[in-house]
């Protein structure tokens, strides 16, 4: 049976990235929403809804980076070098957000407020720079002879920066819908209200990006609007629109699980749209997955492990979420 290792690894990296966006999405979303919640106890409830799982969630970004490194080292080298500045700023923001989980409680009295702010600022900046990275990848890179020859500030352009804001809206939506599931009472009511706002923000961003991308990049327009592609791909935006309506509807009806599930579907569809736009180029515009691939020996060595271990990871991750299922009660976890 002949199978294309590069295609398989592309799929795995897409999967890992999607897992990351969903899982770290809602816990970053909580940090993004926190400035709008003034009550200290409610803030603690928000953090406690993800405290036991955030580290596992964040690990998917390490898998994404490491797999890119191992399966498509040229892509890793070019993309990471080209985006050194936004990635470094993202890493620094992640440092502040990560340590703030513990420091919010363990710090000296007069430091607590600082780490609270670090949690929020770290979450917001991490998300913003991640969005910039996504936008910059779509924008493409100047490469000559396997070496990045563009500028270190190429990412500072309208499209990537808009994507930064778009991702903020996306993670905020994931955060608010997650909190609808995990909280009760007044906080939950607020989260229903927030979801209306975050949904509108996300939809606007999605529409703008969907129009902007084909306008700015003719090859992407070609991918989506040429016949017969148009007929195959039209379900994606149509489905997205329907799901958005469904979320608004379930928020109105005060459904608890549905908004988050629907938000997941929107993220998956949005990400699929992105993948469709750039396929098969892992370093747009001109480097395909096959150009960037590591030797078959590397890709198959990793694949054996990945095929066996990823299901195991998913199993114990699911178990961990199960252990912490249910509502987070106000005032229960305190320092």
């Amino acid at each position: 049976m002949h199978f294309d290792l590069s295609v398989i690894w592309f799929a795995i990296i897409v999967f890992a990235t999607l897992m990351y966006i969903i899982m770290d999405g809602f816990d970053l979303g909580i940090g993004i929403l926190m400035p709008f919640v003034k009550n200290e106890q409610q803030k603690d409830v928000m953090v406690n809804s993800v405290a036991p799982v955030w580290d596992g969630n964040e690990t998917w970004i390490v898998l994404g980076g490491a797999s890119l490194f191992g399966a498509f080292p040229l892509a890793y080298a070019i993309i990471i070098e080209a985006l050194t500045i936004p990635l470094t700023l993202m890493l620094i923001a992640l440092i502040f957000r990560g340590v703030a989980f513990e420091f919010r409680f363990k710090a000296l009295e007069n430091h607590l407020k600082f780490w609270d702010r670090s949690f929020m600022a770290g979450s917001i900046l991490t998300t913003f720079f991640q969005g910039i990275v996504v936008g910059a990848v779509i924008q493409g890179f100047d490469v000559e002879q396997r070496v990045f020859v563009g500028g270190q500030l190429d990412w500072m352009a309208p499209f990537p920066i808009f994507c930064g804001f778009g991702l903020l809206a996306t993670y905020a939506l994931l955060g608010s819908t997650w909190l609808i599931m995990k909280t009760e009472g007044e906080l939950q009511k607020r989260m229903f209200g927030f979801t209306n706002t975050t949904l509108m923000a996300m939809i606007s961003a999605l529409v703008i990006v969907s129009v902007w991308t084909p306008l700015a990049y003719p090859s992407i327009a070609q991918r989506w609007f040429s016949v017969p592609n148009l007929y195959y791909l039209i379900p994606v935006p149509v489905l997205t629109g329907l799901v958005c309506l469904k979320i608004a509807d379930s928020v109105r009806k005060r459904k608890e699980r549905s908004p988050f599930m629907m938000a997941l579907i929107i993220v998956i569809l949005g990400f699929a749209g992105l993948g469709i736009s750039i396929w098969p180029n892992i370093v747009p515009p001109g480097i395909s997955i096959w150009d960037a691939a590591s030797p078959a020996s590397s890709q198959s060595f990793m694949l054996v492990g990945a095929m066996i271990i990823i299901p195991v990871i998913l199993a114990y991750t699911f178990w961990s979420y199960y252990v912490f299922a249910g509502k987070v009660k106000e005032g229960e976890a305190y320092h």
Partner: protein
Amino acid sequence: MFGLDAFMLARLQFAFTVSFHIIFPAITIGLATYLAVLEGLWLKTRDPDYQKLYHFWSKIFAVNFGMGVVSGLVMAYQFGTNWSGFSDFAGSITGPLLTYEVLTAFFLEAGFLGVMLFGWHRVGEKLHFFATSMVALGTIISTFWILASNSWMQTPQGHEIIDGRAVPVDWFAIVFNPSFPYRLAHMSVAAFVSSALFVAAAAAWHLLKGNRSSAVKKMFSMSLSVLVLLAPLQAVIGDLHGLNTLEHQPAKIAAIEGHWDNSDGEATPLILFGMPNMAAERTDYAIEIPLLGSLILRHSLTDPIPALKEFPVDERPNSPIVFWSFRIMVGLGLLMIFQGLYSMWLRKKHTLYTSNGFLKFSLMMGPSGLVAILAGWFTTEVGRQPWVVYGVQKTRDAVSSHGDLQMSISLLCFLVVYSMVFGFGYYYMIHQIKKGPDVIEHDEHDMATVSGRI
């Protein structure tokens, strides 16, 4: 910045960030196993001290673990940002090894960490113990993969160079390369020793303050037992590691020993102290013991050890740095062995918990394990220069093409952020340690059962 070019700045940034990073996993590895041992002993004996010690150290573990994760994230991406030449050249080998580390170790630790720290009241005690054990196992598996990757960079094998890039040919040979077993053993033991010293110092602090509770005494005793066993073992492992390095990286040994000249063909003395002089090609102010160099490294009274002048000038590692970092590491190692032996002597006299002199010494030795780890890593990595993959790719060819200004700003950012964040982190950890194991506090990790839980 300071007349340093982008290349040196990139090296400094890597050295700085990885140095900060390594001290967190060292404690994480040691404490994770310690916590598994404590929990196991609690389940077996129901002695409340073990439960107290578990809850005490798990809070400190949580803070340390978090810092390890975020500093590790920086490392994973730094290969790409500043060392794209290395990533393109060697990525098909180091990339998969790193991927295995993520798959088999990082996810394991992170996946079970939540239950370990927050799930005490949510799962049965055996299941909780399993979670703690999985976290400990994850940290150890991590050591395996990262050292396989780093060791391959030191003693590469199992690959071919095709089209100017390293291509894997034999993965078994790549992972189990010549220096791997020694480096793995040496670093693993180092993690346990440094954690033992850390725990012992915490206990000593409490004992000096007059807190002689049974829990404090237990942690002093347990940590010192580990030290007695492992510090001498580390000396043996270190010696074997040195012999392996002699075989595969003779220039590194020459630089470590500050030995320049073999033109007289005689046995090499051991230079205890001195200042190697790269420009003058000699070691100034040398205080040496005749024949001992040959004896230790060649087990002979006549065979000389490698000399720096036998290597091209641009392939000689920075001897002043590695000469001294090695001696700092060994010196501290000898002090650790002494600390272990003395503790045994005091145990015999039944004055282990009350000898103020020894307690003060143990307190001061608290950070010595971590300092020794840093000294050792400086020795091996600076000693690896000018190679990033030994004998295969030079560090200079591995660096990304960023400008001096950007690298200066980047280094400055990391210096400031790391010093601040991790400085505070350590401060809070020490603050937590000072509370001692006997204070029962409710904390944010006590998430009691909630409605709807099965």
